[in-house]
Symmetry: C2
Subunit: 183 residues, 2 copies
């Protein structure tokens, strides 16, 4: 075991993902992360400063991943909505931190930039609708789309949804989102 870990920063972020998936972001302990990575309890501070710094990095990574996932889903707004829900379920640790601004530094430039790109991905999806709305209607439509997918994802993660929906959040959300744009 070398004195220098090699890639402690990445190892800590990965450990944080596991820890948050197990016990939620509130129970996250820097000392626990250090133990998981096999380093001393103060090592994390050299890479992230403090706990908020680590979560800021995690949130920024999350916004980047979400942006990639949305764009990979194509232009179709329904597809992007389903991709949003899938991202939330497949990366619940990132997702839970991203939308809990009291946990990290929202004004971090990297987070701000990545967040903007994500919002843009949803807005441009509205432009790709069969009969794209314009002006204020377009803004409201993007907001409605964001709200419905975000709400579905949050409720799913919180275990608030009835079990009759099955275990495939993508398929279930597709049926729900469709109600917003097709009828």
């Amino acid at each position: 075991m070398p004195y220098h870990h090699g890639d402690l920063r990445r190892a800590l972020l990965a450990a944080a993902v596991s820890a948050i998936e197990e016990h939620g972001p509130a129970a996250l302990s820097l000392r626990d992360l250090a133990r998981r990575a096999g380093v001393s309890h103060a090592a994390p501070s050299h890479h992230f400063g403090d706990k908020a710094g680590l979560l800021t990095a995690l949130a920024a990574e999350g916004f980047r991943l979400l942006d990639e996932a949305l764009r990979a889903a194509g232009e179709d707004l329904l597809g992007r909505g389903v991709a949003y829900v899938r991202f939330a379920v497949d990366h619940r640790a990132h997702f839970e931190v991203m939308f809990r601004p009291e946990l990290y530094r929202r004004d971090d430039p990297e987070v701000v930039a990545a967040g903007r790109r994500t919002a843009e991905a949803l807005r441009s999806g509205v432009g790709a609708l069969p009969t794209p709305p314009t002006g204020r209607q377009a803004e409201l439509s993007a907001l409605a789309a964001w709200s419905i997918v975000h709400g579905f994802a949050t409720l799913w993660l919180g275990g608030a949804l009835p079990s009759e929906l099955g275990d495939d959040p993508g398929a279930a959300s597709r049926e729900v989102i469709r109600l917003l744009f097709e009828r």
Copy 2:
């Protein structure tokens, strides 16, 4: 100052609401609540057992309040949706705890019962639509309604929404929710 507080349980819940509104549920400290109420650091445990116990009580109270707010808004589903958003913003401390199941005991009978009543209030609102859907479509519609209002409320509380929306979440959400049911 008498040895017995009088209504410490209620005072602690009220203090918890203030504390969560100020710093979020993750930063909640039982000892801080005790200081706010002017009692010793171990007094809270006699009323709630532990931290999860206190948050369980807060969640149960939140579900009761939400249920009341929804039913007071009338049968109209749009009105109930707006009431849902207003509740979230006006009682953000309750709301933030209610949908964070890792913070409290979800299986608490009082919480389970109150949560069921809330879900029922949304479902029955779907039945009051001009052309009410039936069967699976009704379920999906209720889910879509819940998702869109929950998502809007969560995003609003998280400060993720653009400031052009103004400062009245009720009015803003009304325009957004309308897109789901009228067109």
